[in-house]
Subunit: 355 residues, 3 copies
């Protein structure tokens, strides 16, 4: 197994990528981002609906995101070509005739769960049913905060990280794992999905994070889907000790956790060597109301932990860049990362074969 | 059309490049600059005349510009080899015999109009008649200031910028174009020259920049030659409204403008991805005497505007580096850039065929 | 001669490289360094003995130097794989079976003369007799200080510098050479050794550095071995004027210098374009006791001089990177550098042929 096969790193085109948090693209702003090496411009029309197109004027490849929004249109501020929200050039200063070919490619774009999603394949092949159903900061059931950080690393290395939480006991021993029992020996349940995997685990008899005198220890149930290209959607519920055994380590079903959080995360490849990592996290709204400190604690923890991930993954990337020819060996805990990489490779082969 | 054809970007050798402003190379200073990827050393002999040679000792390729001037000679301060101003090694510490091959190539160099010009082809093929006749800060007719900035971009992108002023209404809407009428719809006259192009335009009924109660509006005549490799020489004259029509949009001839400026600019390719942009600008001396504030205004404007150019062009270069395979389309306003690129390609083909 | 033959720069594997000063690797610390492009981890077992292995977990290539020392073992803090000091994986969290192939390569490592040496070839071919016999800060005969700086340059350029001291009169005219007579015309004696060269020279009638009223001038004897990959071991003794002639410019033999210093230095290639330069320097202990200011003076001088070297060599590397095709010519003073490069090439050819 190669960790990163040079230029053969599979990057899906028939896939929805998180391009921004909804609030990062208010009406009136041009938002530029590079996704799988393609410059993409996103903005809102005056009615608030989104449009996405190549962030590259068809004339001389200047960035449209440095341009000017004029109503629902965008004007390149290099030589003034104006595009409507369908990517058609509708004005060329100094020229009356505007040939049909004066346009930039558009991308299907959709807003859902506080995220702006862009389909990187052909616009007309965009399948809206493939957008993962996330839980974002706009969901009234949770009180969340959101953010993003950039990695100097290929997105697959971040995916590997997120599909194997055995790293938590090590990378995050002083953040996420502080005060918990070592869970790295437990294998989670990993199930194959059509466009990803589902990972489920019980961590029993964990010291409670909430200083809750009623629940000094908890059985913690974590379940998340990890979907192409790198979307993580995780529910974590704390149940009275003994629950895990009572449900035979299966789903807690209708039982009500005494505490719960949700986190949605997304890894977006910018270029072959850089990635953007979006995340939100928070407790249920009623818990937030009862104890507004919870979100502060979670967020402080996340701030430290995500930096811990970044440090180790960027160093891993630098090691990989040395190209030492040392073998890459897999362990039992790699079931998640391995299965997820196979999903990406299968989908990549399928869409490449289609072309 | 490719914006930048990778390693096939035409770089002329049989051509004079601006290497520095005269004042940047006082007697006693060694000035190093890389031109079309070649390290060049320039200095003055004690009589003030210039010499130019490879900035690369023939021994171990140390930079001679880090050396020591000894009279008219330069000593490499790595191992002490000493060169005369003809590039011949005249001293090798610890060695009496100095073989003929101990030398560095020299370049023809000439000072004209406050610029130091270097011919990047064979020294003996240097054709001094090919040095553009610029107007520099030493010209008593004008009161100019000079400067330079460096670009993280290929020189052709800067040339494109300077051969199509339709960008002024957009890139410089808050600097050069502030208070003027949108001129981007007007086509200038573009004429082919032997080693460049000539661009001429009238902008009619422009609000005056000079708060001149006698001339609240002006017909502004701009004419410039743009010559290989990237030398811009522009006269701008403000005439009473109606003049443009009176001369049938042709040359104002002997008519005296009530205000005028001149600017000389030069783009020098350092490497394939970096360029240096030299510029001077100023009003006629009599206008400066009458109103010393003019030059302050112009210079403040230029400072902002050149930074605007740099921002958009460096972003354009980064977009081009993404290599997206998107087509590059031309518009009517590209006559200048297209014609100029063809001049460079023609001259490049000619000199390459000669070899 | 090519100064640097691109990817064909000879890098010895059957060779001891200085990886650190002893004090840089205290018990309890994981020390990571890249040597000839290989990531290497060094640490001490609890008994103080050293171990060295690939700084690259066999699982996903994370840096073990970001891991945790557990007794004599090191745990990768990405997924928790634990290695003993022989590089064998002895624990895989979540997995009972540990296949034999779970290991990282180890390197022979030895501590000598305050340096930690690593053999970059096969561990079992390590020949301890090949470790140069240096004089380090632990030697009671001298009072030394130590340090290191990193170069953005290939190690061969630093080697060239250190095998030809004719550069001192030029690069270091204001530091090492200040107050001395120009010595660049004198040829040192250069002898070929099995794995390096020996360079010897007398500098006669040098103004004394020590403000010693008894010895206003001195005959200074310098002798050093320069050994693969880039180890310099130099004794400098100051003798009464006339000594050089008395010994016919040969070895001073049993004569006692009135002042002496020793310096040990080592150049280690990190990657093809970066190097680490280790150095220590100091007077004899009795001289230090008599005048503790000497070491301050030496060290201040070294600080300036090593920066002078770094400046000129990094600029030389940038010039080389321009790839100008200019020839590289040798002079008489190149006997040292040329002989040393040939030693490296001979040893490189021998070990490559052995494979």
């Amino acid at each position: 197994m190669d960790l990163l096969k040079g230029s053969h790193i599979p990057q899906l085109r028939h896939c929805w990528y998180v391009a921004a948090w909804s609030h990062e693209v208010p009406v009136g702003k041009l938002h530029g981002i590079t996704i799988i090496g393609q410059p993409v411009l996103i903005y809102r029309k005056q009615d608030g609906t989104l449009t996405a197109m190549a962030d590259q004027c068809c004339h001389r490849h200047a960035q449209l995101s440095r341009g000017r929004l004029e109503g629902d249109d965008v004007r390149c501020m290099y030589h003034g070509l104006k595009y409507n929200s369908s990517g058609h050039c509708i004005e060329i200063p100094g020229q009356d005739d505007i040939p049909e070919r004066f346009c930039v490619r558009t991308y299907a774009v959709q807003e859902a769960d506080s995220w702006i999603w862009v389909w990187m394949g052909e616009h007309d092949k965009a399948d809206h049913a493939l957008i993962p159903s996330a839980t974002g900061p706009d969901d009234p059931r949770y009180h969340m905060r959101s953010g993003h950080i950039d990695y100097q690393a290929n997105y697959l290395l971040v995916n590997d990280n997120l599909t194997d939480f055995s790293h938590i006991a090590f990378v995050h021993e002083n953040s996420f794992a502080r005060g918990t029992k070592d869970t790295a020996v437990l294998q989670p349940r990993v199930q194959l999905l059509e466009r990803g995997i589902r990972i489920t685990r019980w961590n029993r008899n964990q010291p409670s994070r909430h200083n809750d005198p009623l629940h000094p220890v908890a059985d913690v149930f974590m379940t998340y889907d990890f979907l192409v290209p790198g979307v993580l959607l995780m529910f974590t519920g704390s149940y009275p000790a003994g629950t895990a055994e009572a449900v035979q380590l299966g789903s807690p079903g209708e039982r009500e956790p005494f505490a719960a959080t949700f986190t949605s995360q997304a890894v977006t490849p910018l270029t072959a060597n850089t990635s953007r990592y979006f995340f939100c996290w928070g407790p249920r709204s009623e818990e937030h109301k009862a104890n507004p400190q919870i979100i502060e604690n979670l967020w402080q923890l996340a701030h430290i932990a995500f930096e811990e991930d970044r440090q180790i993954i960027e160093a891993q990337q630098r090691n990989i860049n040395l190209n030492t020819n040392a073998p890459v060996l897999s362990i039992t805990h790699d079931r998640g990362p391995t299965m997820m990489r196979k999903v990406i490779e299968r989908l990549h082969a399928a869409e490449t074969g289609q072309q």
